[in-house]
C-alpha cells in the first residue's frame, strides 16, 4: 500500500462524461510514483469531502454539479454523484404527496372484475393475503415487504426526516432513519407491482370484465414519486448537519 506521502504532485484533470454538460472531477492526488526531491503534495480538499467510487474504489475530489448533471467514474464508468434536482422543501412536499397517494393506493382496490353478475375487487393487502396459504405463506411476507411495508416505511421515514430538515432541524433518530432508508431501497418494488397489475389486467381481460380501480391510478403516480424521492439524493442531508451533533 502506498502512503499519502509518496503520492506525487502531478495533477491532471479528469474530464467526465455526463448527460447534458461536462462536469470536471479532479483527482485529489494524482497518482504517480514517488519522486525524490519533490515537495509532498497538499490535498486540495479535506479527505472527508472526497468521493470514493463505490464500484471500483477510485478517489476523486468533489466537483459542483448542476441539476440533472451526473459525474461518472473515469475508471469504471459508474455514477459517482448526481446533481440535486429538488430542494429540501420540494422533497418534503413530494414526500407528503406520496404519503397521501400511498393511503389511496392501499385503501381503494387496484383492480375489480365482474363475471356473470358477480363482482370482486382486490386491494394491495388482499393480494398479499391471497398468497398467505399454508406452506407458501413465506412468499406472502416477501410480497408484503416489497409492495406495502418497504414503500410505506420509506415514505414515513422520509416525511419524518424531511419535515425537520425543512425547518432547519435535525430529526430525532436521524442516523437510524437514514440507515434504514438505505437498507429499504432495494426492497421497494412499486414499479414492478404496477407492471404486475397491468399484466394481470391483460391476463384476466380475455375471460372476464376487468376494470382498473382508483388504487391503480394512485399507485401509478406513487411509483413515479417514490423513484424521484427515495434515491440517493437524500444522502445530502448528511452534509446539511455536518458538525452539529
Amino acid at each position: 500500500m502506498r502512503s499519502i506521502g509518496t503520492v506525487g504532485v502531478v495533477r491532471f484533470l479528469h474530464s467526465v462524461k455526463n448527460s447534458s454538460h461536462n462536469a470536471v472531477l479532479r483527482s485529489p492526488f494524482i497518482y504517480s510514483v514517488a519522486r525524490p526531491g519533490l515537495p509532498e503534495s497538499k490535498p486540495m480538499t479535506k479527505p472527508s469531502d472526497w468521493i470514493i467510487c463505490e464500484h471500483c474504489d477510485a478517489v476523486y475530489a468533489p466537483a459542483p454539479l448542476l441539476s440533472g448533471q451526473k459525474s461518472l467514474c473515469h475508471r469504471c464508468g459508474g455514477v459517482l454523484e448526481r446533481g440535486e434536482v429538488f430542494s429540501v422543501q420540494q422533497l418534503f412536499a413530494l414526500a407528503v404527496t406520496a404519503a397521501i397517494l400511498f393511503l389511496f393506493a392501499n385503501v381503494f382496490p387496484v383492480i375489480s372484475i365482474s363475471l356473470k353478475g358477480l363482482a370482486n375487487a382486490a386491494t394491495l393487502l388482499q393480494s398479499v393475503e391471497a398468497l398467505a396459504q399454508g406452506q407458501i405463506s413465506l412468499i406472502a411476507a416477501v410480497a408484503g415487504l416489497c409492495i406495502i411495508l418497504a414503500p410505506g416505511l420509506q415514505i414515513v421515514l422520509l416525511c419524518w426526516v424531511l419535515s425537520f430538515a425543512n425547518v432547519g432541524l435535525r430529526a430525532p433518530g436521524f442516523k437510524a432513519c437514514m440507515r434504514t432508508l438505505e437498507q429499504l431501497r432495494p426492497w421497494s418494488m412499486l414499479e414492478v407491482c404496477l407492471l404486475g397489475i397491468l399484466v394481470a389486467i391483460v391476463k384476466l381481460g380475455g375471460m372476464l370484465d376487468v376494470h382498473p380501480g382508483l388504487g391503480l391510478w394512485a399507485l401509478a403516480m406513487l411509483a413515479v414519486l417514490i423513484i424521484l424521492i427515495s434515491g440517493k439524493s437524500i444522502r445530502r442531508l448528511w452534509h446539511v448537519y455536518e458538525g452539529c451533533e
Binding site: 375489480s112 370482486n120 391471497a130 406452506q135 412468499i139 410480497a143 438505505e182 397489475i197 380475455g206 448528511w238
Partner: protein, 224 residues
C-alpha cells in the same frame, strides 16, 4: 503544467486505455468508503463517524457468501420451474400452470407481448443473473484483468434489473386475490411460486453481497 514533472492535460476525455496513470484508490490513500452514507473514512475506524454504520474495506467474505447464495438460488430454481405456480379453475375445468406453461399459453393465445414480458422477467433475467454472477465470481477468484470496465458495467446492470423478476409473484398474487367466485371460478397460488420467490430474493442477496471493487483489485495488485 510545463515543468516536465506534470502530465500533459488531455484535450479531450481520453479513452480508458489511454488513461495512465489511473486515479488513486481509497485503499492506497488509507481510506474506506462508508456504504451507508458515502463518507470517506479513515481505514482504521471500525465505525463510520457520521452515521455509525460498520465499515469494511471490502464486503466481508464477499466471494464465499455470493457463491453460497447463488448456489442456493440455483437449487431453488429447479422446483420453481417444475412445480406449478398457479391452479386455475374456470367454470369447472381445473388446470395447474408452471411458469413456462403460463408463458406458452399466452403465446398460443395470441398475446405474444405479454408472453415475452413474462418470459424475460421470469426466465431470462434469473438465468442471466446466474451466468453473470458466476462469471464475475470465477474471474475475480482468478484475479483476471480481462474486460474490467465491461464486467463492472455487467454487475451494475444485473443489480438494476434483478428485482423485476418479482413480477410473476405479484401477478399470481393479484389474480388469486381477484378470481374468487367459489365454485364458479377460482385461482390459487401453488408451491412453485414460493420457490420462485425465494430464487428472486436469494439472487438479489447474492448480487448485494458481491463486492464490485474486487473486480478492480486485480489491477492494483499487479501494479504493485
Amino acid at each position: 503544467m510545463t515543468d516536465g514533472q506534470t502530465l500533459p492535460m488531455p484535450a479531450a476525455p481520453p479513452a480508458f486505455e489511454a488513461l495512465e496513470p489511473r486515479p488513486p484508490t481509497a485503499t492506497e490513500l488509507g481510506l474506506v468508503l462508508c456504504h451507508t452514507c458515502g463518507l470517506a473514512c479513515a481505514q482504521d475506524a471500525g465505525q463510520c463517524p457520521r452515521c455509525d454504520a460498520a465499515l469494511h474495506r471490502r464486503k466481508p467474505n464477499s466471494i464465499a457468501r455470493t457463491w453460497a447464495l447463488l448456489i442456493a438460488s440455483l437449487i431453488f430454481y429447479i422446483p420453481a420451474n417444475l412445480l406449478p405456480v398457479m391452479y386455475t379453475n374456470l367454470f369447472g375445468s381445473g388446470s395447474e400452470n408452471t411458469i413456462m406453461s403460463g408463458v406458452i399459453e399466452f403465446w398460443k393465445g395470441g398475446s405474444w407481448d405479454i408472453a415475452l414480458l413474462i418470459f424475460v422477467a421470469s426466465v431470462a433475467v434469473p438465468c442471466m443473473k446466474f451466468l453473470v454472477l458466476g462469471t464475475l465470481l470465477v474471474t475475480c477468484q482468478r484475479r483476471s484483468r480481462w474486460a474490467l470496465r465491461e464486467r463492472s458495467r455487467l454487475y451494475r446492470f444485473v443489480e438494476l434489473i434483478g428485482y423485476w423478476s418479482m413480477l410473476d409473484v405479484l401477478v399470481v398474487a393479484l389474480v388469486a386475490a381477484l378470481v374468487q367466485f367459489r365454485s364458479l371460478s377460482t385461482i390459487e397460488p401453488r408451491l412453485g411460486i414460493l420457490f420462485f420467490g425465494m430464487v428472486v430474493v436469494l439472487t438479489m442477496l447474492a448480487a448485494m453481497s458481491f463486492d464490485p471493487r474486487l473486480i478492480w483489485d486485480a489491477e492494483v495488485e499487479e501494479d504493485v
